[in-house]
Symmetry: C2
Subunit: 233 residues, 2 copies
C-alpha cells in the first residue's frame, strides 16, 4: 500500500511495457487479418490459425485479445469508422458549393481510398457478405457517416428548401454511390490511369445529377412530380 502511487507518476501516455506490447500484438493481429483480406481472401473465411500465422504469433495467443474472429472484425469496423470520420472532416474544408466542391470531395475520397485500401476492401466486402453482427456494425458506421454529411450540407446551406428528411435521402444516395464506386476503384489494376480518370468523372457526374435533382426538388404531396419529369422535355 505504501508506494501505491509511484507507478502512476510516469507520464500517462507512456504505458507500462507489458500493456504496450499487448496492444502491439493486438494491432498485429488486426493488420494481419487486413493483409490476408488484401491478398484476396474473404474475411468471413479467415481462420484463427491463418491470422496468427500471418501475425507471427502462436494460434492460442489469439484468445488473449479476441474471443472470435467476429470480435476482431468488429474492432476493424471501429477503426475504419475513424477513417471515415477523418475523410469527412477533410472533405468538409471544400467550402464553396457547386461542382467544384463535389470534384474536390471526390478527390479527397479517392485519396483516402488509395491510402487505406485494405480497410476499404474489408468494409466493402463485409458490408453485405459478412456475419450479421459485422453487417450491422458497418451499417451503423455508414448511417453515422450519412448523418454527419447531411448536417454538413445543412450548415453549408446548399439546399435551404429541403427538409431534414429529404437532405438525408440525398446523402444516402451519395454515400451509396460512394460505397459502390469504392468497390470499382479497388478492383482497378493500378496501371489503368485512363479508366480511373473516366470512372472518377462518371462518379462526379452522378453526384452532380443527384444534387441537381435535389436543387429542383419541391417538398410537395406525393404524385405531383410526375408532370415535371415527363413534362419539361
Amino acid at each position: 500500500m505504501r508506494n501505491r502511487l509511484t507507478p502512476a507518476a510516469k507520464p500517462a501516455d507512456e504505458l507500462q511495457a507489458r500493456v504496450r506490447r499487448k496492444e502491439q500484438t493486438r494491432q498485429n493481429l488486426m493488420q494481419a487479418a487486413l493483409a490476408l483480406v488484401g491478398n484476396g481472401s474473404s474475411f468471413t473465411a479467415l481462420g484463427i490459425r491463418e491470422i496468427t500465422r500471418e501475425a507471427g504469433v502462436v494460434p492460442t495467443a489469439f484468445y488473449r485479445h479476441f474471443k472470435t474472429t467476429d470480435e476482431l472484425g468488429l474492432a476493424l469496423v471501429e477503426e475504419a469508422g475513424l477513417t471515415l470520420r477523418r475523410l469527412l472532416r477533410e472533405a468538409r474544408q471544400a467550402s464553396l458549393p457547386g461542382e467544384d466542391m463535389i470534384r474536390h470531395s471526390v478527390n479527397v475520397f479517392i485519396n483516402y481510398l488509395k491510402q487505406h485500401h485494405l480497410e476499404w476492401r474489408f468494409i466493402s466486402s463485409e458490408r453485405s457478405g459478412g456475419s450479421p453482427a459485422l453487417r450491422n456494425a458497418i451499417r451503423n458506421e455508414i448511417t453515422h457517416f450519412t448523418n454527419e454529411m447531411a448536417s454538413d450540407l445543412r450548415s453549408l446551406n446548399i439546399f435551404p428548401k429541403l427538409t431534414g428528411t429529404s437532405l438525408l435521402l440525398i446523402c444516402s444516395v451519395v454515400v451509396t454511390l460512394m460505397m459502390n464506386s469504392a468497390v470499382d476503384f479497388l478492383d482497378l489494376k493500378p496501371e489503368q490511369p485512363m479508366i480511373e480518370r473516366e470512372m472518377q468523372d462518371n462518379f462526379v457526374k452522378q453526384i452532380v445529377m443527384v444534387f441537381l435533382g435535389a436543387a429542383h426538388w419541391e417538398e410537395v404531396p406525393t404524385g405531383s412530380l410526375q408532370d415535371e419529369i415527363s413534362g419539361r422535355q
Copy 2:
C-alpha cells in the same frame, strides 16, 4: 448403326431418364447452396460436404456436376441473371412515364425480391464479398441489366435531351440504389410492415430525385453546372 435414330424419335423436351435425373441432382445442389446461404452462411465459406449433405447426396457426387464451389456459384449467378431479366421485362410494362412508372417498377422489384429472396441474398453478398471470378460474373450481369434499362428509357423517350452516356449513368445510379435497397429489404424482419413501407417510399423518392436531376440535366462543358446547383436557391 441400324436403329440410330429411334431414340431421337421421342419428343425433344422429354429427355432420357438419366439426363433428367442428373439435371435434377444438379438443381438440388444449387438449391442446397442457396438454402444454406439463406440460413445465414456465407457462400464463400460453404464446403462441398456441407452442400452435398444439404442436397442429400454423397460428397463425391458433387464432382459429377462441378469442379469447385466457385463453378457452382457461377451457375447460380447465371440463373439469377435470368431472374433479373424477367424482372426488367415485367417492369417494362409500366408504360406511362413519371412517378407512377417509378412507383410501379419499385413494386415489381420488391415483389421479385420477396419471391426470389434466396437468389438476391446470394447476389447481394457475393457481389463484393465473393471470389474474383464470382464478383466479375455478377458485375457483368449488373452491367447487362443497366444497359437494358438504359435502352428501355431510350425507347420510352423519357429523357430525349440526354446522350447515351448520360442515360447510362442515370441507370447506373438507379441500379446501384436498387442493389443497396435489396440488402436493406432482405435484412428486414417480416413483422415490420411499417418500416418496409417507409423504406419503399424512401427508395421511390430517391429515384424520383435522380430522375428530376436527369430531366434538368443539360449536356454542357464541365464546370458550368455549379451555378445552377447553388444559384437556384
